[in-house]
């Protein structure tokens, strides 16, 4: 069964090579090659999952990649419940996104290039999931970063896309720097890269406590880079420059989850150093709250969902930090479904609405896109965490785990973030699908300036829209509406599947279920052993069933958030954001994402580019200067000597005889014996 995993991983790579080398000119064919490859991988993954469900346990097979003295690097596959789950999630979401992309990227000139990169991405992500040692994970980790660079910068002609791609790569690379240091630290002490052996080494205490914490924090540093945790979150919102299916696959379901997966895979490190757990929990919690607050003030449909992703990832990290391994992973799975659905839904809206992304130019689209609307509402409910939906079960588990770990502060942050999540989700739903059509809705395909969140004051004056844009006449809007229609089946089918999953997936985690998610994916204590204590805790936790206080608190907050959204946006009459007035200056701060980007840019422009310019100047003038200086010095001395050679015969004679005079003086007065000998020697 294990070598099936090799096929799961390498099929998409085959697709990538086939497309980029052979079938590049044939668009349709390239699309189908990737879909077939990922589909096959999906089927095999499901087989692996079923086999894993039948007989759970870790199975590993490795192949010698590089051995050099003490350094042994393997290319291996490690299958255990965690990996099996992730395999299915990744391949399923990837398959749905590929199908969806055939329509979304329909008339794009880079069609086959897009599917080639999608194949490469799926290969790297699957490789990352099945990796059995740190270095192999780092290799696929970087490859995934590469694919995200290529796909964000897919429309490389757009300067903003190219800049976003570079930003994404550099920020995640910054995280990878930490991850690499962790690997080197662990290898330095334990002499191995393999996860099992490292966990065993840590358990046996061969790693000093300080080194364990350092390694754990560095690993988390890498994970924070990839999963866009604060302060390395800045690249994800900009990554929305890429095509929407890319955002759906990479920046919602799979790649960003890699950070959480990494922490889960190396959980042995974290468990044996309480300090690192604390850091992970609090950074996770803070990121969740931080991102949620920003999300409520965004105007771009994709950026709202992006910040929601950062917030949910914060939840997962908080869960792992609080010891809720199962909760974190379960939320990872459910989140993948409804977040992918949200992005694909947003993509469907954008596709059909003249590629417009600002929610304040939409409004009342429910009539035209019923399926998209309904599926997005399901996703919003799941994301907010209302009872029957998947989000509720995973988020509830997280809150329970946080409460059990005793971080009450985090518990209330989590609950309040649930409120914010519900609020911004339904702000989006109400503004986009319900209420009156916006006065600034686009009538044709020409690109319109970004109007951000129009303020009620601006819209007060009749006819004048934000930034002086004339309100669109009713007649023009009616004519534009004729173009609006539901997306084709290829788009709506994945939406419906994901919506179904967003509802059903939650039930697998029903507390107390005999073969529930908790009994399948759990952290079995140190290494493969599975300490008795962990076993008992898990059994007790599973049997406890619902933790009623948490259920009530979380649902109450969600409903409150929904109500607030309905009050502010459900009954609005104009395309203007009342929240701007309520929060005033705070709103503008949120809208500008706490000015984190601006700070980073300022820092880079001053210290990094500035430093580089200074050093470049130093190199050009001082180091070069010295070299040229020596050259000039020699030339100068040469020039001096030339004075003696000015062509006058008499000048030469003069010098000649001065020398004779000096010689004679020396001979006569300093060496009398010598001169006597010379003069007297005639006989």
């Amino acid at each position: 069964m294990v070598n099936l995993a090799w096929w799961v991983v390498f099929l998409p790579l085959l697709a990538f090579l086939l497309i980029s080398l052979v079938t590049r000119p044939h668009r349709k064919l390239s699309g189908w090659i990737t879909i077939l490859a990922v589909g096959a991988s999906f089927v095999l993954s499901v087989a692996i999952l079923l086999d894993m469900l039948a007989r759970p346990g870790a199975r590993e097979s490795a192949w010698q990649w590089l051995s050099l003295g003490p350094v042994h690097v393997e290319l291996g596959v490690l299958l255990d419940p965690l990996a099996a789950i992730m395999l299915v999630v990744v391949t399923l979401v990837s398959l749905l996104v590929q199908i969806y992309s055939t329509a979304y990227m329909g008339e794009d000139p880079g069609y086959s290039r897009y599917f080639a990169f999608m194949g490469l991405f799926t290969f790297s992500m699957l490789g990352l999931v099945v990796a059995n040692n740190y270095l192999e994970m780092y290799v696929f980790w970087e490859l995934v970063g590469l694919c995200s660079y290529l796909l964000i910068g897919f429309w490389y002609e757009k300067p903003s896309a190219a800049a976003a791609a570079k930003k994404a790569f550099v920020v995640t690379r910054f995280g990878d720097f930490g991850f690499l240091l962790a690997i080197l630290l662990l290898f330095g002490h334990l002499g191995t890269f393999n996860f099992g052996e490292v966990a065993q080494g840590v358990a046996d205490g061969r790693l000093p406590a300080a080194a364990v914490t350092a390694a754990a924090l560095l690993v988390f540093f890498g994970a924070a880079g990839k999963s866009a945790q604060f302060p390395l979150h800045v690249w994800l919102p900009d990554a929305m420059e890429g095509p929407t299916p890319v955002s759906a696959l990479i920046h919602a379901a799979t790649m960003v989850a890699a950070g959480v997966y990494l922490v889960a895979r190396t959980y042995g490190l974290f468990v044996s150093s309480a300090a690192s757990l604390l850091v992970v929990a609090y950074i996770g919690g803070f990121t969740a709250l931080f991102a949620a607050t920003i999300a409520i003030a965004q105007s771009d449909i994709k950026r709202i969902v992006a910040y929601s992703t950062i917030s949910q990832l914060g939840y997962m990290m908080m869960a792992l930090g609080a010891g809720g391994f199962t909760a974190g992973v379960f939320h990872l799975m459910t989140h993948a479904f409804f977040k992918a659905l949200l992005f694909l839904g947003a993509g469907s809206v954008i596709l059909m609405y003249f590629h417009e992304q600002n929610i304040w130019r939409m409004g009342g689209l429910y009539r035209y896109m019923k399926i998209t609307a309904i599926t997005m509402i399901v996703a919003a409910l799941a994301n907010a965490g209302l009872f029957p939906f998947a989000g509720f079960f995973s988020k509830d588990e997280i809150l329970v785990a946080v409460k059990e770990s005793g971080h009450l502060g985090l518990y209330w942050i989590g609950a309040f973030t649930a409120l914010l999540t519900a609020f911004y989700m339904f702000r989006l739903v109400f503004v986009v699908f319900f209420g009156p059509r916006s006065e600034f809705s686009p009538s044709g395909h020409e690109a319109l300036p970004d109007i951000g969140n129009p303020r009620p004051a601006q819209v007060e004056a009749p006819g004048a829209g934000a930034s002086g844009e004339p309100a669109v006449s009713a007649q023009a809007r009616a004519e534009a509406d004729k173009h609006l229609h539901e997306s084709p089946a290829v788009v709506t089918l994945p939406l419906m599947i994901l919506a179904f999953l967003s509802i059903v997936a939650g039930f697998w985690g029903w507390p107390g279920l005999s073969h529930g998610f908790g009994s399948f994916v759990f952290f079995s204590g140190a290494g493969a052993g599975g300490g008795a204590a962990a076993e008992a805790a898990r059994a007790a936790h599973a049997a406890a069933g619902f933790d009623w206080p948490t259920v009530i608190v979380s649902n109450f907050f969600v409903l409150l958030g929904l109500l607030l959204a309905w009050v502010l946006y459900g009954r609005r009459r104009r395309a203007a954001d009342p929240l701007a007035e309520i929060l005033g200056p705070v709103f503008t701060v949120l809208e500008h994402k706490y000015y984190v980007d601006e700070f980073y840019l300022w820092f880079i422009r001053h210290f990094v580019d500035g430093g580089a310019a200074v050093l470049a100047w130093i190199d050009a003038n001082i180091v070069n200067g010295i070299a040229n200086g020596i050259g000039a010095l020699l030339m100068g001395i040469g020039g001096l000597l030339r004075l003696f050679q000015n062509g006058w015969v008499q000048r030469y004679a003069l010098i000649f005889f001065i020398a004779v005079l000096v010689l004679v003086a020396v001979l006569v007065y300093r060496e009398p014996a010598l001169t006597a000998a010379i003069v007297g020697g005639a006989r």
Binding site: G647, F657, V660, L661, V664, A665, V668, V679
Partner: protein, 189 residues
Amino acid sequence: MSTDQLGSLLVFAGLAFLVVGGGLGVVFFRNVFHAAVSMAFAFLGVAGIYFSLQADFLGVIQVLIYIGAVAVIIAFAIMLTRRGDMAETNRFVSPGQLALGALTAAGLWVALLGLGLSQWPGQPAQAPPLPAGTDLTLSLGQLLLSQMALPFEIAAVLLLVALVGAVLIAREDHPGQGRREQPGEVGKS
């Protein structure tokens, strides 16, 4: 001092005066032709010195060649390169070079004078008398054609080469020499 010593001293003084005066004349006369004439007198003085040293053959040669040939050639040269006002032809170079030149010459004179006058071992106070009947010219001739035959021949060749060379250099039309340069053009050729 005996009378003949006084006599020879007087003769030497006269000759010395002639030589040094001629030398100074060469240097200090403004007109280069007067310098040439004073040079001739200096050569005459030198010839006298030879005779006073009983080197009569050399004295004759000195007169014959130096005064007869060299002085004459120099006179020709002066005549050939005569330009305008003769008085201005024999001037000194720039004062800096002049001072340096004078200093060097004087320095050399002082240094070597000290050496010359100092007593070095084996210096004969008085010139040893020549054995009677020694014919300087005869012995010189024998020496020249016996031991010194080779240098003698080489000297002959040298003279020939010099002769031909001088003629070639001073020829009027130099093939491929191009136009004359004006004084202003320094080092541009």
